[in-house]
């Protein structure tokens, strides 16, 4: 599904990404973990198309997308959710997801029909909200949703674009214990239908959801493997797992 080779990005003297080789198989959930400052955000930004790498290639479903802009990647089926909630607070939850559906369904050069009266936008949006568990909150203004619900909406919006690959950037950021459990259950249900790259700090979620884990430290991928292998990896333990809650 996704093949990353030799991804490199420097900011002045700082090597945020140091020759990263990374891949995601179809239907796989591949988690990326690492201490703060390891370069996870830089990595995600390059995958999503917000940053241009200095070197390396990104191949998505057989196509080289290294030079493609973020909107183009999204249209090809690479969707992301943001670590810092990035929804449309002034629109309702339903309309937020409807926007995502709209982005996927061809061009938006229609000037007359109200977008919110279009069944082909609203029905899929409603279905996604049901999947996510926000069906009752569909009409609520996104700004008035709880933090956990907003994080759910983040993921829902990514789903609205019918992605082939989901890039989830710390979906559980700032969530309480119960909300996290719900989110983990929901992400578990997504595993069957989508390939997922999951960047997370929540180790419980990572070990329950991931088929493979890659560990990023100081811009370098120091280990990749199944959760069991990673747990037993000496270097990883030293660099990261030992300090985690």
């Amino acid at each position: 599904m996704l093949d990353v080779r030799g991804l490199t990005k420097s900011f002045g003297a700082l090597r945020a990404s140091d020759g990263i080789d990374f891949d995601v198989r179809e239907g796989e959930t591949h988690a990326v973990i690492g201490p703060n400052g390891a370069g996870k955000t830089t990595f995600i930004s390059q995958l999503a198309g917000n940053l241009l790498p200095d070197a390396g290639r990104i191949i998505f479903a057989g196509e080289d997308i290294t030079e493609l802009s973020a909107p183009k990647r999204a249209r090809k089926g690479l969707a992301r959710s943001f670590q810092i909630t990035s929804i449309y607070p002034e629109f309702s939850a339903l309309h937020n997801v409807a926007l995502a559906v709209q982005a996927r369904s061809g061009h938006s050069f229609r000037f007359w029909r109200p977008a919110h009266s279009e069944k082909e936008l609203i029905s899929p949006a409603r279905r996604i909200l049901e999947d996510v568990g926000l069906a009752e909150r569909a009409q609520v203004r996104a700004a008035n949703l709880s933090h956990g619900e907003q994080r759910q909406l983040e993921v829902a919006m990514a789903l609205g674009t019918q992605p082939r690959l989901l890039l989830l950037d710390e979906p559980m950021a700032g969530m309480g214990a119960e909300e996290s459990q719900r989110m983990i259950a929901f992400l578990g249900s997504l595993k069957q239908r989508h390939s997922i790259i999951l960047v997370e700090h929540d180790m419980d979620a990572v070990f329950r959801l991931a088929d493979r884990i890659s560990v990023l430290v100081y811009g370098r991928l120091i280990a990749t493997g199944t959760p069991e292998r990673i747990k037993m990896n000496e270097e990883v333990r030293r660099a990261y797992l030992g300090e985690d809650a």
Partner: protein, 309 residues
């Protein structure tokens, strides 16, 4: 939503009733005044599309008033008086110029965009000034109004109602546009550009299209303006006029349907009152505007109802 509807109906009723009322009171001046306000309201409505909903701070929007006006003036100068011809050229020229300017400007953002839109409008202003044939700095008198079948634009009351109808049509058109798929894409790009791009929207084509539509609508206002004043001058597109248009949009409350109309009425009526007091009314208006920006963020429409969802 009912409050909004009542507001609109009341407003329209008042505007409809004005001419017979003023004629009965012998105060014909106010028919001219309100007609002028409504024409500029059309320009403000068009600017609101790109500024309020699109987030494009265009400081050169008055250019299209000028293009529309000069289309009428220049065609009339050469003896072409058909109103349809005037409209076609005015709207077409405005759209083309908006396309050309927008193509360059919309690639920039922030402060660059503001400065560049201002600069291009100034360029058009100087162009109008330097072409002495069409009046140069002094402007061009319009001897005949645009000719339309059945409608005599030289008659003050007829032209008043024409302007009223056009204004309402433009308001409705913008209303449909901003609720359509196109409008949603535009508003999404303004509200959270990173999110919009992550979903798959490239802002540029939507913004450019909105810019062209806004320019064309303002060109239409220019045609009406030229017929109203029977005179076209480079001053139509001075940057002072552009700034005034921006204030009309802001004062009324951006990103609302009624906002630009309310804002235009408010600003121009305040100006009328101040003009009645002193010829140096700008020395009062200036600080008033500064204070309104500092303290009065949400605009008039925000007083009456919550923003569009």
């Amino acid at each position: 939503m009912n409050a909004r509807l009542i507001g609109w109906i009341t407003g329209i009723a008042l505007l409809l009733a004005l001419p017979p009322l003023m004629q009965a009171m012998g105060q014909l001046y106010y028919i001219d005044l309100v007609r002028r306000i409504m024409i500029l309201a059309i320009a403000a409505v068009s600017l609101n599309l790109i500024l309020g909903y699109g987030g494009l701070v265009s400081f050169g929007h008055a250019a299209y008033l000028g293009i529309g006006g000069y289309a009428v003036g220049i065609l009339a100068f050469y003896g072409i008086t058909s109103g349809w011809a005037h409209l076609a050229v005015a709207i077409g020229a405005s759209a083309l110029v908006a396309l050309a300017i927008g193509a360059v400007c919309i690639r920039t953002s922030g402060i660059y965009f503001i400065m560049i839109t201002l600069a291009f409008t100034q360029m058009l202003y100087y162009l109008a000034v330097s072409v002495a044939e069409y009046g140069g700095d002094d402007g061009l008198r319009l001897k005949i109004h645009s000719r339309f079948p059945l409608i005599d634009l030289a008659d003050p009351v007829t032209s008043y109602y024409v302007v009223l109808v056009v204004m309402l049509l433009c308001v409705y058109l913008v209303y449909r546009i901003i609720n359509s798929r196109f409008g949603m894409a535009l508003r999404a790009a303004k509200s959270n550009e990173a999110r919009a791009r992550a979903l798959g929207f490239s802002p540029y084509p939507y913004r450019l299209t909105a810019f062209v539509i806004a320019g064309a609508m303002c060109g239409l206002a220019g045609v009406l303006y030229a017929n109203h004043t029977a005179y076209i001058a480079p001053g139509f597109m001075s940057w002072l006029q552009s700034g005034e248009l921006m204030f009309m949009v802001i004062l009324g409350g951006m990103a609302s349907t009624a906002g630009p109309v309310l804002g235009t009425f408010a600003l121009l009526l305040v100006e009328e009152v101040l003009k009645g007091w002193t010829e140096h009314w700008q020395v009062i208006l200036g600080p008033l505007l500064v204070l309104s920006v500092i303290f009065f963020r949400r605009g008039l429409a925000g007083i009456f109802y919550k923003p569009d969802a």
